[in-house]
């Protein structure tokens, strides 16, 4: 039978053991040993059953009070042990916070992909959808359907790489020189309203130097609907330029010629390096040309089977490498396809 003395003894050994418990595991062992289902205090309480009622009440009360005290002591001890442990970490296991973390491999998208994505995002935000087309094209789509017949002097604007394949003494197949042929393909298979962009690779018969590559990437835009005018084209391009190059950009337009648009224009932004004062990047003009554009030629609208009196449209096209060069300050276009990791890892 447990007695008053037993309770006292249990308390003193329990508290002594508790003092000796120096870490979380020892504390848990102590809790199991004294307060657990098969613990010493629980055993003591179980033994009360054989005592007379009055004594049982008295001893039981003392035992329960002891349980509260032990739980309290355990909690307090646990807290002090934890504090001591933290203190130990703070004082004894200090880290050199300047050491690097174990490296995780860092993969990067090619800067052309990154630039392309930003351009596509800016334009899809204005309701344009992506429509890709073939890179190896028919002369028909690349030139003729764009109002550039054979022997037209405008063909000089796009020096061409031809596939070695002849039909009736003519070479009908080529590496597309621009993304514009997909304008025609999309118009052939859809009805207005049309609002598309065509990202993709293009190729030119062009010697490479710091600003010329024979392989390049373009984005073409096309919108055809009722009520589209030159002011919409201006607004769209201005918004695009500001999204790409900063809200405070000034956008300028000048007349230019592309056989498949009328009127035709070129879009320029004020040089964000010198802010119009004149520098190397803008060839001391204060302006940087970023894209060509215009109203879709009414003959092209008519050939697509749309009523040119009812439908108008605009088209624009730009070189991604040029835009990437401007954004990142890259001074030589040949970096993009040299794929030197020392270059690619900067983006």
């Amino acid at each position: 039978m447990p007695s008053n003395t037993d309770i006292k003894t249990l308390e003193s050994t329990a508290l002594k053991d508790l003092d000796a418990a120096a870490d979380a595991a020892a504390l848990e062992d102590w809790r199991v040993a004294y307060l657990g289902r098969k613990g010493k205090l629980t055993g003591l309480l179980r033994g009360l059953a054989g005592l007379p009622l009055a004594e049982r009440k008295r001893t039981g009360k003392q035992a329960n009070e002891l349980k509260d005290r032990l739980e309290e002591a355990h909690a307090a001890r646990r807290q002090s042990v934890e504090e001591a442990r933290v203190q130990q970490v703070i004082e004894g296991e200090r880290l050199d916070v300047t050491l690097p973390g174990p490296p995780l491999p860092l993969g990067r998208l090619h800067p052309i992909t990154q630039t392309m994505r930003d351009i596509v995002a800016a334009l899809t935000g204005m309701g344009f959808q992506v429509a890709e087309g073939p890179e190896i094209e028919w002369d028909h789509y690349n030139f003729e359907a764009l109002r550039i017949p054979p022997d037209h002097p405008a063909r000089d604007m796009w020096d061409t790489l031809w596939i070695d394949y002849e039909v009736d003494g003519r070479r009908p197949m080529l590496l597309r020189t621009h993304t514009s042929p997909n304008q025609i393909r999309v118009m052939e298979r859809s009805q207005p309203p049309i609002r598309i962009i065509v990202p993709g690779k293009c190729y030119r018969f062009e010697a490479t130097d710091a600003t010329h590559e024979w392989q390049l990437t373009q984005v073409e835009g096309l919108a055809v609907d009722e009520g589209i005018s030159l002011t919409d084209l201006k607004g769209t391009l201005a918004e695009f330029a500001r999204q790409m190059f900063g809200r405070d950009r000034q956008v300028g337009f000048r007349c230019d010629y592309f056989p498949f648009v009328e009127p035709g224009m070129e879009c320029r932004i004020d040089c964000f390096i010198c802010r119009g004062a004149g520098c190397r990047t803008c060839h001391h003009t204060g302006w940087i040309e970023i894209l060509g554009a215009g109203m879709v030629h009414p003959e092209i609208i008519a050939k697509a089977g749309y009523d040119p009196e009812r439908y108008t449209g605009f088209a624009f096209g730009m070189g991604i490498e040029r835009i990437a060069m401007l954004r990142y300050g890259v001074d030589d276009i040949r970096h993009f396809y040299a794929n030197d990791l020392r270059f690619l890892k900067q983006f």
Binding site: G107, P150, K234, N339, D340
Partner: protein, 801 residues
């Protein structure tokens, strides 16, 4: 095209601010590519007047002129020029002036000097010293009215606009064309040059004959006869204009044809009349294999597509390109037959490309000149020859196929103007702009203009062409801006593109670097990575005009590109390099465009980094490539399987095909050392390839949600001993066949003692779980017995003790 502003100013008054003029022209579509200043470098060179010329005391060939240079100051210089004389205005360079050294041709600074014992206080300049020409025989004499003391730059210097013109505006390839634009943009008055002259003697028609045998290629031929010609140098002002425009003066007759070509845009040719057999010009197609020697002494073989100018006996020139050597104007020429014709643009372009001759004439003709221009240009040239070559013009012009005096008329509805430009200019604004450009504009109430297009504007044919004229003169920047309105078209799904972009994201997330390489390659590169038979069955498309042999074929694989890029980036250490590219490959199809297959290729090579990033870990191999593929396919929610495969580029036994459902979607493996060696890569490389079009059907649009099990799972390890050739996937499949097993993950492979030879141990962590109830230890024990039973029966597998 180079346009000297002094010349331009003869036809239109120019504003003072030249940069501003260049900007306005450029904005209107007439792009000034470069502004060149001659004379801008002349500092301390002023107009001086020769007061007197004293002899040099110590040298007969030298003289001592005294020069008045303004502000009452005079200087005595030493001069070697024979043409110096009192009263002349000359270019005086003070000490310190920047000049061209007359002997070396190099820029230099003028220093104080004593010449044969007499001090020279500066010098009198020759053209060479001024950088104007190579003339160094005498000094450059300035016009008499040049103000003494003025900067010589003001008298001799010029500004030249070098235009980058667009091919739709042949009219701008002339000083007059540019002058018309300037007039329209600034409001200044445009002045036509005079073309009248006095006719004398016989009718031109009686002196020569012109026959056009190919009217489809020559729509008009105008000829003039000028007799009594004295060939000699052309006047100074003409030589100066030509030189400034970039042409070399030759003689008065040739200079006049060039001068009028630059002035009016119509190429002309002067034949020596006496060299034209029977004085008969015949415009005809060349005979096959015909030959000709041109003015520049070059010889060419001809074909039937070439349009010739012939006389009664032989070819005397290639139409629109260059005249023949046999009929050129020489110092002995007495009579000139002047040609001003209109030739078919595309034909001239074909000829000029075929013969590889581009001339000032061909670049103008190929753009399509107005048939109205030849008689005007001919008259202008005849007038100049009468004036400057002592010529006597025969009466009238020979004009074959003058055609009808057609005039393009365009109806411009105001409604269309508003529809295209989005603004409504007033009637008078429209009329004002069109008139300034030489168009006629008649208002037809209630809503339209009838626009008469001037003959030189061959590019304007429809209402929208006229609208561009209005927009560019108003200035695009003056138009308001608006945003697109209206219906947004329905979404066009782009599954291939979406997949490609997801792949790029997944692989960069897995630490791989994206590269973009050239689409073209050479056969050697393809042969390195593809078996011969493949290249015979699928012969890659070849370019007819490759930029280099290196880029001659459209690639049918990406392998070589990844390996080349890897080779270029492998440095001395073994740093882990992992690259990928997604691009199209081009599989030829008979008589059609090639199939452009979206492909992916990736390579991994090098050692895994340690905690400090040093490449000291294991060499990356098959499994490192596979982990990237698994990461990718996991991202795409594609459940894929792998089985051993054999391929030309890969090492047997370390190669797998990747399949989804029944379809092969790609390959993965270690690159065969025989291949890496060809790329000069001296370390092992693991590679993978996916065909995006094959992957696509296995990519769920949206992953399917599986309810999270409500009842707890029990985990247990199971190790079995199987034959070496039994794959982990096979064992796993048997384990997974149990419907109480939710997952079975392999976590150890072991062979060697105490496992018998030819066998291996595979350990799996198995997760047991049932729907609707909590599994007991007994349930699991029972199921484990069933599984081991099946493993024994199917795979001869023993439980490892």
């Amino acid at each position: 095209m180079r346009v000297p502003l002094r010349w331009l100013a003869e036809y239109v008054d120019l504003p003072a601010h030249k940069e501003d003029l260049a900007r306005r022209l450029t904005t209107a579509g007439v792009e000034v590519g470069e502004i060149i200043r001659t004379g801008g470098q002349w500092e301390n060179i002023v107009v001086g007047e020769v007061v007197k010329v004293d002899p040099h005391p110590n040298a007969d060939r030298l003289s001592l002129p005294t020069i008045r240079i303004g502000n009452g100051e005079e200087r005595q210089v030493v001069c070697g020029a024979p043409n110096i004389a009192a009263g002349q205005k000359i270019a005086y360079a003070a000490v310190g002036a920047r000049l061209i050294d007359g002997h070396t041709g190099e820029p230099t600074t003028l220093k104080k000097a004593k010449i044969r014992g007499v001090e020279s206080q500066g010098m009198v300049c020759s053209e060479k010293e001024l950088g104007l020409s190579d003339e160094h025989e005498g000094i450059r004499v300035l016009p008499e009215d040049s103000p003494v003391g003025a900067d010589v730059a003001e008298i001799l210097g010029d500004t030249i606009f070098d235009f980058d013109l667009t091919p739709n505006r042949p009219d701008l390839f002339s000083i007059l064309g540019i002058a018309r634009e300037v007039a329209a943009l600034t409001g200044a008055k445009f002045r036509d040059p005079p073309i009248q002259y006095e006719e004398k003697g016989a009718q031109a028609k009686s002196k020569a004959k012109v026959t056009i045998q190919a009217p489809d290629l020559c729509s008009r031929y105008v000829a003039a006869i000028i007799e009594n010609i004295e060939v000699g140098p052309s006047p100074d002002w003409m030589q100066e204009h030509l030189t400034a425009a970039g042409l070399r003066p030759i003689n008065n007759v040739v200079d006049i044809t060039n001068y009028v070509m630059l002035e009016m845009g119509q190429p002309l040719h002067a034949f020596d009349y006496d060299d034209v057999a029977r004085h008969h010009i015949i415009v005809c197609r060349a005979a096959k294999n015909g030959r000709i020697r041109l003015l520049d002494r070059s010889r060419h073989k001809l074909n039937e597509d070439v349009l010739l100018i012939a006389d009664a006996e032989r070819a005397v020139g290639i139409a629109g390109v260059m005249g023949g050597h046999n009929s050129e104007v020489t110092s002995k020429t007495k009579t000139v037959l002047l040609e001003a014709a209109n030739f078919n643009g595309p034909n001239i372009r074909r000829t000029s490309q075929a013969l590889k001759i581009r001339t000032d004439a061909s670049t103008r003709f190929e753009k399509g000149l107005s048939p109205h221009l030849p008689p005007i240009a001919a008259a202008r040239a005849v007038r100049l020859m009468v004036e400057h070559c002592g010529g006597r013009a025969a009466r009238g012009l020979i004009d074959v196929n003058p055609g009808e005096a057609t005039q393009t008329k365009v109806t411009l509805k105001m409604e269309r103007l508003v529809r295209v430009l989005g603004i409504e200019p007033t009637d008078s604004e429209v009329r004002g702009i069109l008139t300034s450009l030489g168009f006629g504009a008649r208002w037809m109430p209630p809503d339209r203009f009838i626009v008469r297009v001037p003959y030189w504007r061959t590019d304007v044919n429809i209402a929208d062409d006229v609208i561009e004229e209005i927009a560019r003169i108003i200035g695009y920047d003056q138009l308001p801006t608006s945003m697109l309105r209206g219906e947004i078209p329905p979404l066009i799904p782009q599954p291939r593109r979406d997949l490609r972009e997801r792949i790029r994201d997944a692989l960069t997330d897995a630490g791989m670097q994206e590269i973009i390489t050239y689409s073209m390659t050479d056969l050697d590169s393809l042969r390195k990575v593809l078996p011969k038979e493949d290249l015979q069955v699928t012969q890659p498309l070849r370019l007819a005009n490759p930029l280099s042999r290196q880029w001659e074929y459209a690639r049918t694989t990406l392998r070589h590109a990844l390996l080349e890029t890897l080779a270029a980036n492998v440095r001395g250490n073994h740093e882990l390099v992992s690259l990928f590219e997604t691009a199209r490959i081009y599989i030829p199809r008979d008589g059609d465009l090639p199939d452009e297959i979206e492909s992916l290729c990736g390579v991994v090579s090098g050692r895994q980094p340690d905690r400090w990033g040093r490449p000291v870990g294991d060499l990356a191999g098959f499994y490192e490539a596979k982990s990237r593929v698994e990461h990718l396919l996991g991202r795409l929610c594609v459940s894929a399987g792998y089985r051993e495969a054999v391929d030309f580029a890969y090492l047997p036994g370390r190669t797998a095909e990747i399949f989804a459902g029944d379809a092969r979607i790609g390959l993965i493996g270690e690159v065969h050392p025989r291949i890496t060696e060809k790329f000069d890569i001296d370390r092992s490389v693991a590679m993978f390839e996916l065909d995006l079009d094959a992957v696509l059907p296995h990519v769920p649009e949206i992953p399917n949600f599986q309810p999270i099990p409500q009842h707890p799972a029990l985990e247990e390890d199971l190790a079995v001993i199987v034959r070496d050739d039994v794959s982990a996937a096979h064992v796993q499949a048997v384990i997974l066949a149990s419907n109480l097993v939710r997952a079975a993950r392999v976590f150890d492979v072991y062979s060697g003692d105490p496992i018998p030879k030819g066998k291996k141990s595979l350990a799996f962590a198995i997760t047991y779980q049932a729907e609707g109830r909590t599994l007991t230890d007994e349930d699991v024990a029972k199921e484990r017995r069933r599984i081991t039973e099946r493993l024994r029966n199917d795979l001869d597998a023993e439980l490892r003790g």
